[in-house]
């Protein structure tokens, strides 16, 4: 099947829908998504979207900018962060104008709450900067954007899974996707392609991410010669429900929740004396790992407690109803009187497909764009989050850069014709499917996936060192070999979810390789990348972004400089 559009957006979470809304009035656009749009993982974001509205107390986007840069351990590109924090404000108002039901202050304005790492006046105290709709802000953002897309008659291809990106003579020519319903391959011939395919948290065993977050867009781009940037920086959120990894929002600590070890001690006093439980996520996750390592986990096990008992039932039910429900449902305990067992959970990829400030995908250390290719949201790396993302900033990122990418793409499709479609455009996608269908062997998909996820958790998660990372490199070779021996059981053409899961797993192996190679090479500790054998940040050698390329000889790394504008790197203390 051949379809032709001005632009094709892949992914229908916040970034994809925001791009669709900003592009659909000016160009013929299709959105293809492997899920129904309202199933996207933006809907799982809980606590809020950061914007310096100053509705309750003084706040400035410059403060937001500074703490985003500091939170990211100075690896973020500061020009991009400035855009993020300035445009956050108009973006929140735009959402409100589209009907988003924000919680309200007594005088009817958008309500704000404190969040991890967000402070005022250079670190004096936490500031209320997170605009929220109870603890389902992401759900409301996703719903609101989808509603507006319906209003604007955006053209969706639901349950279409992207398999390949088409590049012809240095220009983007479209994408190839498979329809879940029919098993047919569709070639979308397009002048511009925007990837908004989300994260890849499912490469780890314990993750807050949806099962669908397998990094498809990142893997597709990587295989076509596009590098992935800063993949070694992967955020572990401190408060996942023990064993399940389901997220309990930082809003719980924003509303006053406290972390306690087996002795009941508020241990964050020792790690971040000023911000305490609202220190940035990388620091809190490391603190929990340390407590556990030193025998202060609850019952000697690998978890600590989140204490919400002092907040009272009313605050829990009104401000944190969803996470209260999660705790009741999955733990069978009552957060108003019981302590909640939590452990860090794989949450967010700071890295991704490298882009400039207009969402254009760039191919090298000189920021050379690949004409017609854009990326936004978690699958992209602008970089606004640097080495560690602050809470609430992912929602800002998807909207601000989803929109900027779309605006640039609108201009691009106006000024350019379609690139020639390559001969046999779906050849590679056909081959990818055929390889999986024809593979012979005795391996079970579940076992191979477990091996990847368990070992990534053990060897490349919160704390790392050369020994374990080198072991992980070897493990990945084994994973790949065994992957090729997985025999597909489902031979049907229509609704073959097993085939798609297998293709997803292949992508996750590619992504894990970039993460491990980047982490092995980076001999320093910065943000979420914490090397026990190199415990200090090393700006002289490592204040630079990693670019990982997939080549026949394996992953090759290049580096590009960090853009510093207003804030010189300093030691990061809270």
């Amino acid at each position: 099947m051949l379809q032709r559009y001005d632009a094709v957006i892949v992914g229908a979470g916040g970034a994809g829908l925001m791009a669709a809304l900003n592009l659909s009035a000016q160009a013929r656009v299709a959105v293809i998504s492997k899920l129904y749009p309202v199933r996207s993982h933006t809907g799982a974001a809980q606590g809020g979207i950061g914007a310096a509205l100053g509705n309750l107390e003084e706040d400035h986007w410059e403060w937001h900018m500074f703490y985003t840069i500091k939170g990211g351990d100075y690896l973020a590109d500061q020009d991009a962060v400035e855009i993020l924090c300035r445009e956050a404000i108009e973006t929140v108002y735009e959402l409100e104008h589209w009907g988003l039901p924000f919680s309200r202050t007594p005088d009817g304005k958008i309500a704000l709450r404190p969040f991890g790492g967000h402070t005022r006046e250079f670190g004096k105290a936490p500031v209320r900067r997170s605009c929220y709709a109870a603890d389902r802000t992401g759900h409301m953002i996703l719903q609101t954007l989808y509603q507006q897309c319906i209003k604007n008659e955006v053209h969706f291809y639901d349950e279409f899974h992207v398999l390949d990106l088409l590049i012809e003579s240095g220009r983007t020519a479209g994408v190839v996707a498979i329809s879940l319903a029919t098993g047919e391959l569709y070639t979308f011939h397009a002048k511009a392609v925007i990837f908004a395919t989300g994260g890849c948290g499912r490469i780890y065993r314990v993750s807050s991410n949806a099962l669908a977050l397998t990094g498809d867009g990142m893997a597709v781009a990587l295989r076509r010669g596009v590098p992935l940037e800063d993949m070694e920086f992967f955020q572990f959120h401190p408060t996942g429900i023990y064993k399940l990894g389901i997220l309990l929002s930082e809003a719980a600590r924003g509303e006053g929740g406290i972390l306690r070890n087996r002795a009941g001690e508020r241990f964050m006093e020792r790690y971040a004396p000023t911000l305490l439980d609202l220190a940035p996520r990388d620091m809190v996750s490391r603190a929990i790992y340390r407590e556990v390592e030193e025998g202060r986990g609850v019952g000697g096990k690998d978890y600590v407690h989140l204490d919400l008992t002092h907040l009272g039932r009313e605050v829990l039910d009104q401000k944190l109803p969803d996470i209260t429900d999660f705790v009741r449902t999955y733990m069978g305990i009552e957060p108003a009187k019981d302590l909640i067992p939590i452990q860090p959970t794989a949450h967010y990829a700071m890295g991704g497909i490298p882009t400039d400030n207009d969402g254009r995908v760039v191919m090298d250390e000189k920021n050379t764009p690949l004409a017609g290719f854009y990326a936004a949201g978690e699958c992209a790396c602008v970089s606004v989050h640097g080495a560690n993302r602050l809470g609430t900033n992912s929602l800002v990122d998807i909207l601000v850069f989803g929109r900027r990418g779309a605006r640039h793409a609108a201009k691009f499709v106006r000024e350019n014709d379609w690139a020639l479609l390559p001969a046999n455009p779906d050849e590679r996608a056909q081959q990818l499917v055929a390889e999986r269908k024809n593979a012979q062997g005795n391996e079970r998909q579940g076992d191979v996936r477990d091996l990847l996820r368990n070992e990534m958790m053990a060897k490349a998660s919160v704390f790392r060192d050369a020994g374990r990372l080198a072991q992980m490199r070897e493990t990945l070779k084994e994973v790949r070999a065994r992957y090729n021996g997985i025999k597909l059981e489902d031979r049907s053409v229509r609704y073959n979810t097993e085939l798609l899961e297998l293709i997803e797993l292949g992508g996750m192996i590619d992504i894990a390789e970039t993460l491990v190679e980047g982490a092995l090479a980076r001999q320093e500790s910065r943000g979420a990348h914490s090397r026990e054998d190199f415990p200090k940040r090393n700006d002289a050698q490592w204040l630079k972004h990693t670019l990982a390329y997939q080549t026949p000889q394996g992953i090759q790394l290049k580096y590009k400089p960090v853009t510093i504008t207003k804030f010189e790197p300093k030691e990061r203390k809270y």
Binding site: R136, M140, I246
Partner: protein, 232 residues
């Protein structure tokens, strides 16, 4: 614990009619039914087909008929489901494979009620003001995740597939009672149609089925009331 899953299977490519498959799964009592389904798919039988994504009750992918009642597989814990668990697709939509149904008619109904913010007045520079009580007025119906559990548990919908169904009405309610919205009359007009809100016979299955705890029947009742007062 050991549980037996009795799953209604149907692959239109090869089956003439649905059949029951049984799988024994070793699991923890606190595991979700979704974990057990994944255990089957990943380690026993890769052909088992169902939708899932977030695995914690927020994306709405895995609504299905569990021991005879609609629920999300990721919010149903094994310890509450007994030793033998029957799992079937939601009723009222065409089964496309195993536990997956054709959702196109479901989303078509949703789109009928203009489920988006409508205003005709000038947009302010900053936010439109809304008091906490005004915001609270429609809070319950903002929780909807469009999983389909309510609509496919509704006998009125089974009897009349043209009925717009509880999920669509919930999403109309979310805007009808939003103090900022100006599309109230247009939506009420749509729901006043013979396949609109009056098909509801207050059977309350939808309330029981809703994994988000929305009082669906009350929301439908409030829309009915709004229509009656409008006529007076």
């Amino acid at each position: 614990m050991k549980v037996t899953l009795k799953i209604k299977r149907f692959n239109p490519e090869k089956d003439e009619k649905p059949w029951w498959a049984e799988y024994a799964v070793e699991a923890e009592p606190t595991d979700r039914l979704l974990d057990a389904l994944n255990a089957v798919k990943w380690y026993q039988d890769g052909t088992l087909s169902y939708r899932r994504s977030c695995a914690h009750g927020i994306c709405g992918s895995d609504a299905m008929l569990i021991n005879g009642s609609n629920a999300l597989a990721c919010k149903a814990l094994l310890k509450n489901l007994g030793d033998t668990i029957t799992v079937e697709p939601m009723r009222g939509f065409r089964v496309v494979k195993d536990l997956m149904v054709d959702l196109e008619p479901f989303f078509d109904k949703y789109k009928q009620v203009k489920p988006y913010f409508i205003t005709y007045s000038v947009t302010p520079e900053k936010e439109r003001l809304q008091s906490p009580p005004e915001r609270e007025r429609f809070d319950d119906t903002t929780k909807c995740i469009l999983c389909g559990a309510c609509t496919t548990s509704c006998p009125s919908f089974w009897a009349n597939p043209e009925y717009v169904g509880p999920a669509a009405i919930v999403n109309a309610h979310r805007f009808i009672f939003d103090s900022r919205d100006e599309g109230r009359e247009e939506r009420l007009e749509i729901l006043n149609h013979r396949d609109g809100v009056w098909r509801c016979r207050t059977i309350f299955n939808c309330v029981e089925a809703c994994p988000r705890g929305i009082n669906v029947t009350r929301a439908i009742g409030e829309v009915k009331q709004a229509l009656m007062y409008r006529k007076l």
